[in-house]
């Protein structure tokens, strides 16, 4: 917080003193602040759209990923058939797959959500598969001796022990879901953060461009910090795990 404020203050002073970069290329931080505050409702509207798309994509992507991870732990077929496919889809660059999804799903919110889903899906899939698998084999033997069903093992042992892995994935997925939705808007949209960036650039509206950039960064960072807090609150035992992830 202090570092960011200091950086912005230094920028303001240097730009005022040296006159570089020129104000029409990069407005003063104070100008950006005034611009943002004056038009906050306008920005909130666009932010809300992007966040809604990102949020939906985040939920759907994680749900799919966790489901598939569970299936791949219990079924060799799922692992052998779906995993290579999942990795192949992952290897297609995001900017290549976005137009394809827009063709498939139309210009509405669905294609934006789909991009966010794809972006969130992989970190969670990879981490959860590892997390669900790396359970102490003696713990599994103990569960066997205690006559636990596969469902009990999943719910009582595998899920809780993969929480740290899940949070590691979520820490990646939260900012990427916003990025995914914004990239899709970039390609084609009539609202949202990605749309604002494109429009501001074409209109040479640098104040609006910087405002958007600043706001989306703040929101991403806030959500990331929220996840960190949530993790240390939900998993107080996590840092005592012996070298486990």
């Amino acid at each position: 917080m202090v570092v960011v404020a200091g950086f912005l203050a230094a920028w303001e002073i240097l730009q005022r003193l040296t006159g570089y970069p020129p104000r029409f290329v990069a407005p003063l931080p104070s100008e950006v602040a005034v611009f943002t505050v004056n038009r906050w409702q306008f920005f909130i509207q666009h932010l809300a759209i992007t966040l809604a798309e990102a949020g939906m994509g985040f939920l759907l992507g994680n749900l799919l990923a966790v489901g598939l991870a569970v299936a791949s732990v219990y079924s060799r077929t799922v692992e052998q058939v779906l995993m290579p496919f999942a990795v192949a889809v992952r290897s297609v660059p995001l900017i290549a797959i976005t137009p394809v999804l827009i063709f498939l799903l139309g210009l509405g919110w669905e294609s934006k959500v789909a991009v966010a889903v794809i972006v969130c899906f992989f970190p969670t899939l990879v981490n959860m598969t590892v997390g669900l698998r790396t359970v102490d084999h003696r713990l599994l033997e103990l569960m066997h001796v205690l006559n636990a069903s596969w469902w009990q093992v999943l719910v009582r042992v595998r899920f809780p022990s993969s929480w740290p892995a899940f949070f590691a994935a979520v820490k990646i997925a939260v900012p990427s879901s916003i990025l995914g939705a914004a990239v899709a808007e970039w390609v084609n949209a009539s609202a949202g953060v990605g749309y604002l960036i494109i429009v501001s650039t074409y209109q040479f509206n640098t104040a609006q461009l910087y405002s958007t950039m600043f706001l989306i960064t703040v929101v991403s960072a806030a959500l990331y910090l929220f996840v960190l807090r949530l993790e240390s609150w939900l998993l107080p035992w996590r840092r005592y795990l012996p070298e486990n992830l």
Binding site: L142, M143, H144, V145, L146, N147, P160, P236, W237
Partner: protein
């Protein structure tokens, strides 16, 4: 107490464990490894038996065969007269490892309760009472990481006892503890065993520990694992620290070490011959 040493009174009961001509083979990268070869022994009900032998002699494998985790390639294992899977389903078997393997996200009490929940055992023991028995009254709400290694291992013991099993399988349960804690844990275990009279099959590397705790010590040979010798421990019960000063105790240590020697020379240089 004396009745425990009276063999005749138990003759009509099923033995707690029968291992009959069991062979166990594992596939490895360099071919098949015979972990156990035609091994046979019996453990009477209420008896405390230690398995001792060099690393890789299949002690842990044997325990897992009895716990229905592995299945023998040939031979028969019976637990209280039942096949291992039936004995496991009837929650006759409790298991404990070298590490406590507790669930870090559950409190000490919930860790013990979990055993009852999973098995649905109706004749289980009260978890809070068990924690008192292992000397952890007042620590029920703590998480495993708040306890020392020895305490965690006592939680694991309470968990193994929770379903009130007839048979307790212990795989080097004190192997990861320091010498002092280890001796205290042995005292604990003895006093708990004297109160509950479970059948115990105890895997260990420590000759003094085996002698101090057991009614009988089975010495295993390695690769492939076979029974080399069985030694009755003639020390009286109840046993207390002082017994470690007696001639019988030293004599038993000497006998067991002699049995262990040929295939396990001092240090790890070369083979036995």
């Amino acid at each position: 107490m004396a009745a425990n040493r009276d063999g005749a009174a138990r003759e009509d009961l099923e033995p707690a464990i029968e291992v009959d001509c069991v062979t166990m083979v594992f596939p490895t990268s360099s071919g098949m490894l015979t972990a156990l070869q035609d091994i046979s022994f019996t453990v009477r009900r209420g008896e405390f038996v230690s398995l001792i032998g060099p690393s890789g002699c299949g002690k842990s494998t044997l325990l897992r065969l009895i716990a229905d985790i592995y299945h023998p390639v040939s031979g028969v294992v019976r637990v209280a007269g039942l096949p291992p899977d039936r004995a496991r389903r009837a929650h006759l078997v409790g298991l404990m490892f070298q590490e406590p393997v507790l669930l870090p996200w559950l409190t000490v009490l919930d860790n013990v309760k979990l055993a009852l929940e999973l098995t649905g055992a109706k004749d289980g023991l009260d978890p809070a009472w068990l924690l008192g028995l292992v000397g952890l009254r007042g620590r029920e709400r703590d998480y495993p990481h708040q306890l020392s290694g020895g305490m965690q291992q006592r939680v694991a013991l309470a968990r193994a006892l929770a379903t009130n099993p007839q048979l307790l399988l212990m795989d080097e349960p004190f192997g990861a503890l320091d010498e002092l804690t280890r001796e205290r844990m042995a005292d604990w275990l003895l006093s708990i065993w004297e109160q509950t009279r479970k059948t115990v099959l105890f895997v260990t590397h420590s000759v003094p520990e085996a002698v101090f705790l057991s009614d009988r010590v089975i010495v295993l040979d390695s690769q492939p694992g076979v029974v080399r010798a069985e030694v009755e421990v003639t020390l009286p019960r109840p046993r207390r620290e002082g017994i470690k000063e007696t001639m019988t105790y030293f004599e038993l240590l000497r006998i067991l070490r002699a049995h262990l020697r040929p295939a396990q020379p001092q240090g790890n240089g070369g083979g036995g011959r």
